[in-house]
Amino acid sequence: MKTILIIIGMILSPTAFSQNQNFWLIGGGNKITNSQEQIEKNVIWLEKILNAKGYNNKYKLYYGIGENPGNDTQYIDQLESRKNELSALQAVFTKNAQTGISYRRHNLTNTDGGTQKKTLLSSLTNDFKSVSNNSEITLIYNGHGGRNYNNETENYLKLWGDTKMTVSELSTALANTPDSSIIRFILPQCYSGGFYNLINPGKIIENPRICGFMSVSETKEAEGCTLETNSEEFRDYTTYFFAALNNADRNGKKLITNPDINTDEKVSYREAHLYTLKYAISKDISRSTSEVYLEKWLPWYLRWSIISDYTDSHYWTIAKEVAKHNSLSLGKADLNERYIEMGDIVNSQRSTTKNLEKKIASHQKTIIKKLKDKFPGMNLKLLRRQPDADLTSAKKANTYIISLPDYKQLISESDQYKKARINLLERERNLAQINKVHRFKKLSWIEKMFFRFSSDKEKNEYQALLDCENTGSL
């Protein structure tokens, strides 16, 4: 009954378009060697969507080095790969012998600044202070996330200059917004689940209202942030979420299914999130603040219960659809069998890649030792810092490395490693689909329990989060 009321509420709720919508796009890696082109491509695409929707002057963009001179984007130069005159040196000095890596400046025009923590925090604080009353704020991050192993509620955004912005630091900056505003965050980075605490649990129905969407739990790494150049292969949370909001993917292709569940001709953030859950074939098990709220509510005496089927919950529908798309059964025994089977495959694939990593590192160590005897002081980092340096000695070193038998083995293992990584990712994606079915079966059951046993205050808090997620849209 409550679920039906929520769905009716979604249908009757006023459309979310507001003239007072403001967006903050924050993107880029934390250092040049960890600032993949995919992040930049995502930010460029989001800018395009916002401009097309008429929000040209309604967003602030903070990216990498901002307007400062220099390079802040890493990419694979496919033409130069392996043919690069210093590729052997690169294979020896880079992690897992990756070759063809090049660096350039971002292609974004008119950023509002860089993302170094100090400057970004002060910019955000000033921006939020100047937000007018009754504004809707959407914070979209595209970059890397870090995990605080001692306290995951203090996970952080990895910002330029290898700086960190923790959950509480971002929360303090957001506190500068007017009480009448609504804040929504979309965080696709690793360990983003830790940012659930931005909603100030215990103060949910107080102002300003905060809700959001996160790609993974506080302990898991997210999909994306690879050096993949083919945008058809991007499967991060941003890719699916904004394709749903835009009703077309980044290449302009219409989506197979309409994400607009309540057919009000507007795709809300929650609808985009539900679309992502149903159709994303990625390793992310994304979550919204209302879903995490339900999970955190689960009392001690229910935690160990064996989940029953609650087929009238909308979470059950998601479980059913994910199972259908991935040829999975909803039955406990079948699903569990697949989970164990796929878990074993993932574990064996992980150990294969780890062994290859060790072998690659060992070959690199041997080659570096030989290289240092012949070319003392040869270092790729040194060359990166001095782009105009004389390359004669480096080229000689490169030729010398190619002549070593260890190098042939290194390249062969590097190729095997690349294949193993792709294989592992595919298996992790398959395992994630099984876990998604588990999770949504569990959520459908928790939601039923919640409406039966929670207090009025808890019901209001859950509803506030749902309203906040449902009313946000582009």
């Binding site: 739990s217 898991k220 001690w300 005496y301 160990w304 219960s305 064996i306 989940i307 569990n336 989970y339």
Partner: protein, 131 residues
């Protein structure tokens, strides 16, 4: 004499403290039998540290229930209890069971079973000691 008194109180306290972990152990084995996906996912998503903290927090929350349940079961089993108090205790025990069945909470059912067994053995040993 003093040692016996300490033993008299320490053993029941230790038993009360051990009921939740024993119930969890029982449920883990049952969970494997019934493919408990909910529990499996909790373990999968949490780190070992987080899971231990969650377990300890749940353990602490369960203690008042175990204490109340122990008293109820002790009164039911005690031959010298007042009839009215005994009837109230039986009703409360019935409500406990009913509650666990209604919300399908296997933990409460396991706690009930383990507490009953604990109270049974404690009262048996007390009876032997008094003889």
């Amino acid at each position: 004499m003093r040692g016996q008194k300490i033993k008299k109180y320490i053993i029941p306290v230790m038993v009360v403290f051990s009921i939740y972990p024993i119930s969890a152990a029982v449920l883990i084995s049952l969970g494997w039998l019934f493919d408990n996906q909910g529990l499996q996912l909790i373990i999968d998503e949490l780190t070992r540290r987080q899971f231990i903290l969650l377990f300890i927090s749940d353990w602490a929350k369960s203690l008042p229930y175990i204490l109340v349940l122990s008293c109820i079961l002790y009164i039911i089993r005690n031959k010298n209890s007042n009839l009215i108090i005994k009837l109230i205790s039986i009703t409360m025990a019935f409500l406990f069971l009913f509650f666990s069945l209604v919300i399908q909470t296997h933990m409460i059912a396991a706690l009930f079973l383990c507490t009953y067994i604990a109270v049974y053995f404690l009262s048996q040993s007390q009876y032997k000691n008094s003889k």
